[in-house]
Amino acid sequence: MSALPFPDAATSPILRLLDVGKMYATGSVQVEALRGVSMEVARGEYVAIMGPSGSGKSTLMHIVGCLDVPTSGSYHLAGEDVSTMDEDALAHVRNRQIGFVFQQFNLLASLPAWRNVELPLCYSGVGRAERKKRAVEALERVGLGDRLDHRPGELSGGQQQRVAVARALVTDPALILADEPTGNLDSHSTADVLRLFAELHDQGRTIVLITHEHDVAESAQRVVRLFDGQIAIDGQVDSTAPSSLASIG
């Protein structure tokens, strides 16, 4: 499952941001959402990005997810410089390298679970039989092997998010990028999904999780805290961390 896209890059970081800046022009006002962010994420790391609203964590997530490009600095994903790519190339990178998990699940209500999971494979030209096989495998991996033909409306919130995780896994991406994945879930389902992430991490997956919940961030290996478009704290999770840290988040 974890065949490396660049074998020689095994030791190089999956993600390398160098002095990344992002300016937005809203009308006549210029907003500097990111101001020189530099960070690296190594293969197999499980990183949580935290920060209050307005801290630039959404902007960072968009750049990391190749949904947007930085206005300054550079960004390398799995050894490729993506900061200068055009729309089509970015779409291609998103398809191959990134598995998204969203707060809103973003499943297509008209399609059964397995059709939702195979969707990214449709855009990378994988044949029909192969797609179905891999979708079923991914759903079995997240423990929904018996829910293949259920539509999202027939599944609980936790199950829907697990379908979304299966969809993120199906392309065997370099990075799983989860944007507030537990924001819409009750505590039981939250624990469920976090346990799944922990398992995937144990299997060597690289995970970047964006959240504002301290409990959720604690499930990660490393927490990066953003404040005013800059990295305020970047450190390993310490279960005895002082509560003052949590108050930032």
């Binding site: 949904l67 291609h92 008209s110 990214p120």
Partner: protein, 409 residues
Amino acid sequence: MNWGETIRTALEAIRSRRMRSSLTMLGILIGIAAVMLTVGLGQGAQTQVRNQINQLGSNLLIVSPGSTTTTTGIRGGRGSASTLTTRDAAALSSPVVAPDIARVAPVVTGSQSLTAGTTNWTTNVVGTTPDWLPVRARSLTEGRFFTAAELNAAAPVTVLGSTTATELFGGRDPLGQSVNINGTAITVIGILNTAGSSTTTDDDDQALVPQTTYSSRIASSGNASGISTLYIQATSTDSLSAAYQETQKTLLATHGVTLAAADFTVSSQQSLLTTATATDKTLTVLLAGIAAISLLVGGIGVMNIMLVSVTERIREIGLRKALGATPRVVRRQFLVEASTLGLVGGLLGIVLGLVGAQVLPHFLNQPVTIPPVAGIGALGVALIIGIVAGVYPASRAARLAPIDALRSE
């Protein structure tokens, strides 16, 4: 994403919004069916008129009386005067005066009640000469036509149209039977072959008698030599215009008038055909124009629905883009959806049009001829409308930024 995938996705999108998709297609469907039927009706009417005119006979000129002018200067309509006489017919029959005229058949008509035993039937009684038969290119199924001798003698004989014969005698053989027309007992000597009935004039429902018999025995009043129409057959198609000139010159001379004051009108089959076809064409263009507008409205409907669909599916588009759909793939998906709506609507419209072409003649008493080209053309138009209506919504969908699209509620 290959074309097969794209088409499958588009079909699923259409199917999952069944009600809306069918209403959208209904617009195209009605437009296409309307265009097909109006074109079909126009074609049918043109064919019908052409057949009617051709049925008159070949190389034919028709002389109708001109208009009357009262002492106060008010002109009546064409044919309101009865200025043609048997003398005109006689003059035109002369090979010296009119060498290009083969035959002349003067006709005088009137509606009369025919009685056979206890059966009554009102029909057109036509007084004419033996030349009527070849001039009008008709033939007999039974019996014989009246002869020149019978014409001279004003013999009480008649040749019936097939419909008239059936109405009067049912299954019995009408030959030799007696028919009472306006108090005169007249013997049936022949039955006309069927001409193929047209809706406006029924050439199978008439009773032909010698012109002399008509004026002396049947017509209740009027002058004995007056006739309503002259049918003139030219010697050949090439001599038709020469025959036209001779007819005009001779009649002007016998009537003693100038061309400006001519009290008759000579028309040829060709001129009748041209006039009738032109009128039909104008009407067809007008109707097809109205139908085309309804098709345009259907196209705008498709565009409207596609735009609503883009707005409604912003999240889906955003998701697809996040998962790796390039703008081109998104644009393609919406284009295929729009053109499928157009195409399926068009196909159903053609089916409705063809069904209409079968059903309508029974209600309208009008033939509907849909040329095969019209069906293929309609399908093409429906497809083009779908594509054109889909271009703008599709490019809007393709331009959506995936982040904004995903964030929208």
